[in-house]
Symmetry: C3
Subunit: 158 residues, 3 copies
Amino acid sequence: MVASVSSRVAELGLELPRAFCAPPGVEFSFDTARVTGNLVHISGHGPLDGSQILVRGRVGEDLDVRQGYDAARLTGLSILATLKELLGDLDRVSGWVKVLGFVNCAPGFNETPAVINGFSDLILELWGEQGRHARSAIGVAELPFGIPVEVEAIAEIR
Amino acid sequence: MVASVSSRVAELGLELPRAFCAPPGVEFSFDTARVTGNLVHISGHGPLDGSQILVRGRVGEDLDVRQGYDAARLTGLSILATLKELLGDLDRVSGWVKVLGFVNCAPGFNETPAVINGFSDLILELWGEQGRHARSAIGVAELPFGIPVEVEAIAEIR
Amino acid sequence: MVASVSSRVAELGLELPRAFCAPPGVEFSFDTARVTGNLVHISGHGPLDGSQILVRGRVGEDLDVRQGYDAARLTGLSILATLKELLGDLDRVSGWVKVLGFVNCAPGFNETPAVINGFSDLILELWGEQGRHARSAIGVAELPFGIPVEVEAIAEIR
């Protein structure tokens, strides 16, 4: 990588939302990310600004593929905010390993990879070669509070 | 941790079920947990006593949120039994990393985190700060043999 | 292991398909597998020959359990092709850790473990004791492009 990830974030004019947190009056019984060895396991995130849900609905019904893609990109930004809060600096993420994306699918909608690309493309734009990752894109019946996309991931840190 | 996990189990009056195993006449083509390095990967478990299913049904239809939460707690006890059998002593689990919870959801039911809390709260009661973990809570169409909850996890061992 | 995995593949008369790749005109924004430390994380695969889908449909509706099992075995062969391409030699896979199998289920079909056994049995036939792995088998609403089975996995490499 020539440029740092932080400078790429600025260059692309990306604004990070607030980090994923519990809504007022609620306490999470999980962490939004957890480090083991040189890996960070990132909890399932959605298109969130703090605890506020930015997009709801099923892809293939309430949202089309492009809107699903955009929701997956917003999910990526929420994950970046979590990593920045946890690690202090996104440049501590030295590479990506694995992504598991879930899409809230209307019956018959199965272009789940095209939706999760919204997440993967963001990571590749920022980390380049180091952003390459294994992935699955699954269509599920229900996601928490009606979010259209949920992504969990494993990344390498230094 | 001041007290050991085993003594916390006793203190809370928890009784572990029999470890997850194949029903009579069936042979599993998978292990209920598998160690790699200092991590143990735990197979998807449900609310089980040995091979016996303790709770069946969809959350939001056959079970309400509280019953789903209780099924997730029973799932946690089944996982503890598996870990005790594999490791000899629950105190060999030094921390938790990642939990992936699946909820058998009736159409329209999406409070999946409230259900999987039944698992997470048990782990936090027993391991305290070391029990903190990243997590996803997903609603799915079908779980094996109609169980309401399935949880797989990664923990650290010493 | 007495025999090498490659010689077991030959012995069983297994033919590996082409490795999982993007269809013409499409570029994947993910890798089909990714190495971190001594682990390889394998992306979700289906019953594929290169980018060509060999089996489509829902288990419990378009396919019965046995056909689902066969699709899971084909999924395993596709994963072997990916590993061979990535690592040069299947004998570099020294053991298996974790398998997450998704089954495209018709409503009411929940014998998901019997389907994913098609994958697990193949791995055990080839790696024996070293092929043992933790596993979850989940029924989902939709899989990419209507494939009946999707499997992602973690294996150890040397």
